[in-house]
Symmetry: C2
Subunit: 202 residues, 2 copies
Amino acid sequence: MAVRQPQQDRSRATRQRLLESAIEALAELGWAGSTVAVVAERAGVSRGAAQHHFPTREDLFAAAVGFVGDARRLWTREHSIDLPTGPERTRAVVDLIVRLYTGPLFRAALHMWVAATSDPQLRESVVTLEAHLGRETHKLALELLGADESTPGVREIVQATLDMARGLGLANLLTDDSKRRAGIIDRWAEILDTALRTGVKA
Amino acid sequence: MAVRQPQQDRSRATRQRLLESAIEALAELGWAGSTVAVVAERAGVSRGAAQHHFPTREDLFAAAVGFVGDARRLWTREHSIDLPTGPERTRAVVDLIVRLYTGPLFRAALHMWVAATSDPQLRESVVTLEAHLGRETHKLALELLGADESTPGVREIVQATLDMARGLGLANLLTDDSKRRAGIIDRWAEILDTALRTGVKA
């Protein structure tokens, strides 16, 4: 039986705010600028309260890694509902996948990946989460595309779609790449559609 | 008339060594770890001599950005010579492009891109070089594939190939992704080959 516990609610809300601020700080300021003090200030939380939730910066960002995963899942679920059926669907699915890799959550994740190359503890959290998220995103893409992985070549083209989306996310890091991107998504959707409809050999 | 000037040669060799060490340091230690002192030590050059060539860290890495461009160009030219002709060619070209984005030069470039998100001076050098390199790599891919950009859809599928390669580079950052990657390259080469041979609509 769930009884409301205001104190616990407040504590959970503070934790949530800290994690949101950690992701925003990462996406905007990068790793070096995202200290616990900066994150606490952005969250409107005292430094002491922040340290109560996350004693070290490593604790904060290990939790933030998981939070990015949850946020991505939620975002994808929400946006999957409105996808059209019929001939427009493949393009809409490719577009959704690309948006998953070009938004602020990807930007934050990218800063974490790069920081993780020289931080063993962060690396472990990031690699574990990425393997998990990668499988999830792949499964979701198959489902949204109505694609059958037992058909030879389907697994690889769906993987290639996710890798292409990741590359587009990187291309969007320093400049607005949206115009070029739209043409690539159109073309990719055509090719993917043909490859999935005709089965093997593109 | 070129007269040999040992002093200038030594100076050029020192500069070259510093730039090589800067890229290696970036690829291995990331941005935060790649200070002028660290780079000088790796190059076997005194800190004073390093500062004579590059008064600030910004000067060193602005020059390193250009050096990455030159090194990529040289690497690609060298590796383009051995590409097979005939039915194996498309796969070999895709593989070459992907290797361009999965090696240490890409890794160093990635650290620079991410550092550039919060460093306006570095950002300017990186964005200028990237626009230039992007065009160059695109042109080279067209040439190696024997593809004609005036055919509708060819430009976009070649761009998509480079974006996919960039995404594969990112997927290789924290873990060895070479096995998964090989299957994707096989499949993409099939699709690309069909799309280029049959012209429009994949």
